[in-house]
């Protein structure tokens, strides 16, 4: 299956017009240098030969080197993974902070105004295009309040300024994610609240809050974990637009930049890694799900 993905990427990227060497050396014209470089990198071979070579190297664990900066693809990715992971983690934290109380309250006070607020928020969050949200936040904080909104500082190294550089992008992604989580949490809570054991607990005279905290919450959180896990893949590889607008050196932007520069090895390598990551996280979620919820195991 991965073969399909990689073959697909390969074909696709090679079909796009444009040549990485031309892009690298836009302002100089020495043809002989360019053709030498092409020969050295094997770019003058027919497509299937190039693919075979790449596959061969891959099986030996070598993802190749980026054409633009000559560094191994692995290094390029690992350098960019940190900001992406940090952003993803922060976004998830933000979303949980917002969604948990909202989701619980919505379900507990179903069809009241609180619920309406929660569902409306969820709906709006899902429908808001994230580039629009990003621009809105930039407008509010950058233009009106004159806060700094530039690139990236590592919170692990620079502490507060680092965190500050990630706040707005994390908000952008986190709000949207919160919408999804709120929805999921609400519906799973509703489902859990309708279960027999809850009715029993209530009959026993336990307060609503005890019921929720004791029994419902744990079960309701399972689908939430699922959703978060699935979204992790999207967060890392798909936060392209957010990374662009906030100038964060993440994996998403790496891929897009590589596509624009026709940096074939980098594109293939990164897409492969993202796909693998996605598959792995799906697998992990499946396993986790099966482990937590015994009912599922015997399907």
């Amino acid at each position: 299956m991965l073969v399909l993905v990689t073959a697909g990427v390969f074909t696709l990227i090679h079909l796009t017009p444009g040549d990485p060497i031309d892009v690298m050396m836009a302002e100089s014209v020495d043809d002989s240098v360019k053709s030498n470089l092409r020969r050295e990198l094997g770019l003058d071979q027919p497509i299937y030969v190039q693919y075979a070579t790449w596959m061969g190297r891959l099986l030996r664990g070598d993802l190749g080197r980026s054409i633009r900066n000559g560094e191994p693809v692995i290094e390029n990715v690992s350098r960019r993974i940190r900001p992406s992971l940090q952003l993803a983690a922060l976004a998830m934290a933000v979303s949980l902070l917002i969604a948990t109380p909202l989701g619980i309250l919505s379900a507990a006070r179903r069809n009241t105004s609180v619920d309406r607020v929660g569902t409306t928020f969820a709906l709006f969050g899902i429908c808001m295009p994230n580039f629009l949200l990003a621009l809105l936040l930039i407008f509010l904080f950058g233009v009106k309040l004159r806060w700094p909104i530039s690139g990236y500082l590592d919170p692990l190294e620079d502490g507060w300024p680092g965190l500050r550089s990630l706040v707005l992008p994390a908000l952008t992604l986190g709000l949207a994610l919160a919408a999804v989580v709120t929805r999921t949490l609400r519906s799973s809570m509703l489902e859990a609240l309708g279960e027999d054991y809850v009715r029993t607990a209530r009959a026993k005279g336990l307060s609503e809050w005890r019921v929720i905290r004791g029994h419902v919450l744990k079960n309701a959180l399972i689908p939430v974990v699922t959703v978060l896990g699935l979204q992790l893949g999207t967060l890392i590889g798909g936060a392209v637009i957010t990374e662009y607008v906030f100038a964060l050196p993440g994996v998403g932007r790496l891929v897009v930049d590589a596509i624009f520069a026709r940096d074939y090895p980098l594109v293939q390598g990164v897409v492969l890694l993202i796909a693998v990551g996605f598959i792995l996280s799906n697998l992990a979620v499946d396993l986790l799900y099966g482990w937590i919820d015994p009912r599922i195991r015997y399907r």
Binding site: P17, G18, M24, A26, E27, R80, S150
Partner: protein, 522 residues
Amino acid sequence: MRSSALDANLHRRDFLLLCAMAAGAVAPTMAARPTSAQTTPKKGGTLRVGFYLEASTMDPHLSGSKVDRQIYHNIYEPLLTLDVKLGIKPGLAESWQQVEPKILVLKLRKGVKFQDGTDFNAEVVRFNFNRMKTEPKSVRKGEVASIESVDVVDPHTVRINLRRPDAALLATLTDRAGMMVSPKVVQERGAELERNAKGAGTGPFEFVEWVKDDHLLIKRNESYWNKQGGPYLDRVRYRPIPDDTVKLQSLQAGEIDVIDYVQPRDVAAVRADKNLVELDVPSLAAFSYQLNQTRPPFNVKSLRQAVAYAIDLDQIVKAVWLNVGVPANGPVPPTSWAYDKSIPPIKRDLAKAKAKLAEGGKPSGFPFTITTANIPINVQEAEVIQAQLAEVGIQAKIKLVDAATQLSDGNSKNFDMISYQWSGRPDPDGNSYQFFKTTPGTSLNWSGISNPQIDALLDKTREVSNQAERKKLYSELTKLLQDELPMIYIVHPIEPKAFSPKVQGYEPIPDGMMRFKEVWLK
């Protein structure tokens, strides 16, 4: 609006005025200069610079990108340098003499050492030129193609033997082709030089580290040979910030101190901002469109001329570039000694445009496609041009492409009219030869023009060494180009730079390179 040429002169005059004045210059938008006793430069501090792109390599012989040059001009030094008027000044070479048309003798500065401690001498120069010519990945081969060999006359004199007279060589040596790299570093480090340039140059700063996607750090070279003036800064930290809005906002928020380019649309706001200093730096760059002469519709000269007459350059420069630039009359920018202000840019003339259409057999207009890069200002300009052309019935379609596709389309001549941005070279040869000389195969001559008269002119500009004579030749060339129209030139942009008011001592040179030797922080 006054004629464009006059505006260009005003800009230049402003600069000369500024340079002649002492620190605390009159014009409030210009950065103060430390030449008077009013403020004495202070040592120390880290200058934080925001750039639009990441550098690609630290080896000047292998570099093909403009951004790299910005850093090179601080850690490496070329044999010759430029002054504010683009005149040639001594660099690592103290003096030069064109002994014969094909022999150039350079006398090198004494007592210069590389940052790794090795000596700079004639042998080093020979080593560097050989490397540029023979290193397989060298991108400088074309630039030094006229050099046959380099002889060491004595430890501080080199003789450069040329294959043919090359009047543009001196200017070429003010940039990467003249930059001297320590042979010891090359031999010991090999390919690693591209990431790590510690000790490799002779410049006022030396390379410290490069963390990709994050920053590039250089620090003051304590053993710099030139004890006059700077360097004052402790360190300079370059940060790549690809987004213009974010870059500007970083500057406004005080996260960085300098940005290399302010978009025309932001210039007014930056000028009005009391916490920033804006500097208009006229550049060598040109923005133009190449017209494909190898296929219809632009294989017909009068149709090319029709388009040129239908375009309103003044309106474009005013509305799209917001007057951050001057309308262009050809490849030579107003900052150059070769600029002929008596040749006006092509003025809009709808009657002439219609006449040319009829002459070309398309009296009611014709359709074609404008291929342009997907950058906001390009898009805007293309839209304006489209509307202007529509007034004479020419229907232009716009095709947006990314940079790679643009290069590929251009190189393979797969376009009708394609946008082209050239960052410019100090010698007019760099702005013209490779675009207009008949060249089979792939080259920067995207239009495919092959005109014997132009070819002859171009060759002559390289042979003649007298500047006044060359200027006349370039005037002739400009007039011919306005008739033949392989390219329609639109504007010579000004490259506005913005600074935090702490930054003092910046001296703008029209090649757009930011040299920090004399810069200090208040």
